[in-house]
């Protein structure tokens, strides 16, 4: 990344912001850890209602997973474009990332809506409370990421790859990959283990 920073001060700022952002990601990780722990404790507390295996639609979840992983790939393409100073590649990759991310959120919302309509809403049991909150918090993060993505995309489109925007894009990429990582755990702990156990 040293090619991006122009002066020693900017380089220093880059490292400060990056370290700060890593620390923030760590706090977010702890937030998810708390929700995972709660889910693990409450997963069996179905209060006579359905358990995971009865309500998960694995093909849909698999589709979500593939979509989100692909969006991580396109996000990586944006970063490569940024390093090659290829604004066009950055913008196209960001558009792809946005569409994939949006598809993920839409599918998740549809899945939630269906569950609620069937009477398996977050109020129905402690297991469902934990399920909706854990998965929903991840979805909320993705949505915030989408908002951030729109702002960065529009600014890069208008102003080109300024040093400030390159910095933002780098941080965004960290955030997006982080969410991907969290999803891998959601997929494993919530869905796969829910179906197998």
């Amino acid at each position: 990344m040293s090619s991006v920073a122009e002066t020693p001060e900017q380089k220093h700022l880059l490292s400060k912001t990056t370290i700060g952002f890593w620390l923030y990601l760590m706090t977010d990780c702890l937030l998810f850890a708390t929700l995972f722990a709660t889910f693990a404790v409450l997963r069996g507390a179905t209060a006579g209602g359905p358990d995971g295996a009865e309500i998960y639609e694995m093909p849909v979840v698999l589709a979500e997973t593939i979509i989100l992983l692909t969006s991580s790939f396109t996000c990586g393409m944006a970063l490569l474009g940024m390093m090659a100073k290829n604004t066009k590649q950055v913008l196209w990759s960001l558009v792809a990332t946005f569409l994939l991310g949006l598809a993920f959120v839409v599918i998740e919302v549809a899945e939630f809506a269906k569950l609620i309509a069937e009477g398996h809403g977050p109020q129905a049991s402690a297991f469902l409370s934990a399920f909706f909150t854990l998965v929903g918090t991840h979805g909320l993060h993705v949505s915030v990421g989408l908002l951030w993505l729109i702002i960065i995309g529009v600014l890069i489109w208008k102003r080109g790859l300024t040093s400030k925007l390159t910095r933002s894009l780098t941080l965004f990429a960290l955030f997006w990959h982080f969410l991907d990582l969290i999803w891998i755990f959601v997929f494993t702990v919530v869905y796969l283990m829910g179906v197998v156990v």
Binding site: I19, M26, T27, L31, T38, V41, L42, T46, A47, A126
Partner: protein, 662 residues
């Protein structure tokens, strides 16, 4: 449809929300009139513009630090007013006389006391000290993210404001300072109190979390050249430990409060007593945050004492390396002891044994620190100024508190004294004797650095002795009462138990503490009045670390030149080494421009919190959108710094050093 819109606008707010009992009306009236008085005073003296420009929008950590400490001081008075009511009830009315404080109000008061003292007094003063001291001690000109720092303070302020609004509109939580479910669930606490509690803590907590990130990055990336990690002043090390704990523990609080919010507003079943809910999960989570929180508060107090003892003993700190390792050991171990808060949960003998042993182990690094301080004093030339007196008080009370803590770490004993006044006495020993005495010592010690005059010594000594005597009188009886079986949060007991005498002694102790606070307020006022006579130079205590090297009052840019550091006690070494400094060469300095975003974000968030508490969904949604827009604006800010030219630096240095009589 019209009714629906009204519902969206006003939620469950109505005129019934105003206080009706005489005690709350008194408190609310005092709050409102106090605020009106201050607003009036600022308006009459035409100070609004000045206040806005020099304080409210300032990104200078020294100013932010002072604002933290002022808020914390005001909240200390409120927390004390609460405790006067509690002890008055227990000493005078508990055996059946008619009391002005009913049971319900009593519950609100003890919940308010704990919440305010921990979140808005102890946290406030600790963050205030960190803001004031850390950048100076590492030889930096600022923190890593100045605007984020201001936003952190204003979120803390927003939480405080929301908590105090509950005095006037609505009610305080009556569920204790940690709001255990199922008592705090909708079923048993349908009012607004718990919601106020949740949102005040959530908002202030996010502020603390951002501060934690900010100061860790500051310490890791902005130290003066040559200051390796093992050359950092020990206070900075203690802040590293404390902020690492903030970063690791506060997300747990955020998530836990979030789940309690969902239980109360969306009827989920995390912590309810039916539908599979698990109240003990909440208790586990809240203490997984809560125990590290204790160390978040105490570590910087340890750090301050570690600065004070060498200076007033005229010796290097004994065992610097072991001190650093002790801090880090405490930081890690503090995550392994949370279950000792509820041995009686029934987790089983093996689990209890593990947490009991870990609790005993964590006392070891603390013991290392105590011996290091004592060995630092050994054969030193000790001068017993106020900061040192607070240290002496601390070392006694804290050791007693530590010993009772290890006692309770034995699960078998804990079963006897769980939730008794013995426990209450123990943690007050740690928090008053540790955190508060540490804060008082630190304030007395660093006060002259920022003001250019000392605090009056005689009044400081009087305050110390009143506090110490009051403290012993107020809490020694609670140990005895606890062993006699008195539980905490008790508003009435049978006269035949014979407890009243001890409660009266505790009450007398409180009056001594009040006397101490009176002396402290007097000391402040008198010292400011007599500031000319108490004036001192930039280094009144013959200090050792970098903060004493710069001018007093400290310039906005902290240091005019940035020479490399060679030694742990850098200033002491340069002061007493033969080599004189060359004529300093100044260069341009970048400082952050003022920004009102802290105030804006804080206002939006207070409105959002208030609206959610009262279920005013329309207003809550608008405030949320405003907050998001503000966050985006913060991200898009440009041109955030201004230059102080080398020439201006030279002029300001000349003026500052002349004023100090150097």
């Amino acid at each position: 449809m019209t009714i629906d819109w009204l519902q969206m606008l006003f939620g469950r707010l109505s005129l019934d929300a105003l206080p009706s009992d005489i005690v709350t009306i008194g408190g609310a009236a005092m709050g409102v009139f106090g605020l009106l008085f201050i607003v009036g005073l600022i308006t009459v003296t035409k100070r609004w513009r000045w206040l806005w420009r020099t304080w409210l929008t300032s990104l200078d950590p020294k100013k932010i630090g002072v604002m933290y400490i002022i808020v914390s001081g005001v909240m200390l008075l409120r927390g004390l007013a609460d405790v006067v009511m509690l002890r008055a009830q227990q000493a005078l009315f508990a055996t059946g006389m008619d009391s002005p404080i009913g049971s319900d109000l009593f519950q609100q008061v003890f919940s308010a006391h704990g919440t305010i003292m921990i979140f808005f007094v102890a946290m406030g003063v600790i963050f205030g000290l960190i803001n004031l001291i850390v950048p100076l001690q590492i030889g930096a000109r600022d923190v890593a993210f100045p605007l984020l720092n201001s936003i952190s303070f204003w979120l803390f302020f927003a939480g405080m404001a929301l908590m105090n609004v509950s005095l006037i509109i609505g009610e305080f939580s009556a569920a204790g300072w940690l709001a255990y479910p199922p008592l705090s669930t909708l079923e048993y606490s349908p009012g607004t109190g718990v919601d106020y509690w949740i949102w005040a803590l959530q908002i202030a907590g996010i502020g603390s979390l951002l501060s934690g990130v900010n100061f860790l990055v500051t310490i890791f990336t902005m130290r003066r050249k040559g200051m390796t990690l093992m050359k950092m002043p020990i206070f900075v090390w203690s802040v590293v430990g404390s902020m690492a704990l903030v970063v690791f523990a506060f997300p747990i609080l955020t998530a836990t409060l979030g789940m309690l919010t969902l239980d109360r507003t969306l009827d989920t079943n995390f912590f309810t007593s039916d539908m599979g809910g698990n109240p003990m999960m909440y208790v586990n989570l809240i203490w997984a945050w809560g125990h590290p929180e204790v160390y978040i508060l105490i570590l910087p107090a340890f750090g301050a004492f570690s600065e004070i003892v060498p200076v007033f003993s005229r010796k290097r700190l004994f065992g610097y390396t072991s001190m650093v390792w002790a801090i880090m050991a405490i930081t890690v171990l503090s995550f392994t002891v949370w279950l000792h808060h509820f041995f009686t949960m029934g987790a089983g003998a093996n689990v209890n044994a593990f947490f009991g042993i870990m609790t005993m182990i964590i006392a070891v690094p603390t013991g290392v620190k105590v011996f290091n301080w004592l060995f630092t004093m050994f054969r030193g030339r000790i001068s017993f100024k106020t900061p040192m007196l607070w240290f002496m008080g601390f070392i006694v009370t804290f050791t007693i508190g530590g010993v009772t803590g290890v006692l309770m770490a034995v699960p078998g004993i804990d079963f006897q004294v769980h939730n008794s006044l013995f426990l209450v006495a123990h943690f007050h020993n740690m928090i008053i004797g540790g955190v508060l005495f540490g804060a008082f010592a630190a304030l007395a010690y660093w006060w002259p650095k920022f003001t250019g005059f000392r605090l009056h010594e005689g009044l400081g000594v009087a305050a110390f002795w009143s506090w110490l005597v009051g403290f012993v009188l107020a809490f020694a009886p609670l140990y005895i009462l606890g062993l006699m079986g008195a539980v905490r949060r008790l508003d009435s007991y049978d006269a035949s138990l014979g407890w009243q005498g001890l409660f009266v002694v505790a009450g007398v102790g409180v009056t001594f503490i009040l006397l101490g606070v009176f002396f402290q307020v007097l000391q402040l006022a008198y010292s400011i009045w007599k500031r000319k006579e108490l004036a001192c130079d930039h280094d009144p205590w013959n200090g050792r670390t970098l903060e004493w090297a710069t001018s007093t009052p400290v310039a906005e840019y902290n240091f005019a030149t940035m020479e490399a550091v060679n030694d742990r006690d850098e200033y002491w070494e340069t002061k007493y080494s033969r080599k004189r400094r060359n004529h300093p060469k100044y260069s341009d300095v970048l400082v952050p421009k003022n920004s009102g975003f802290g105030v804006y974000v804080s206002s939006a968030v207070v409105v959002m919190g208030f609206a959610i508490v009262w279920h005013m969904w329309l207003i809550a949604a608008i405030a949320l959108i405003v907050t998001i827009v503000l966050a985006i604006c913060v991200g898009l800010r440009e041109n955030v710094e201004r230059v102080i030219t080398a020439k201006q630096v030279a002029e300001s240095e000349k003026k500052l050093w002349k004023g100090a009589g150097a």
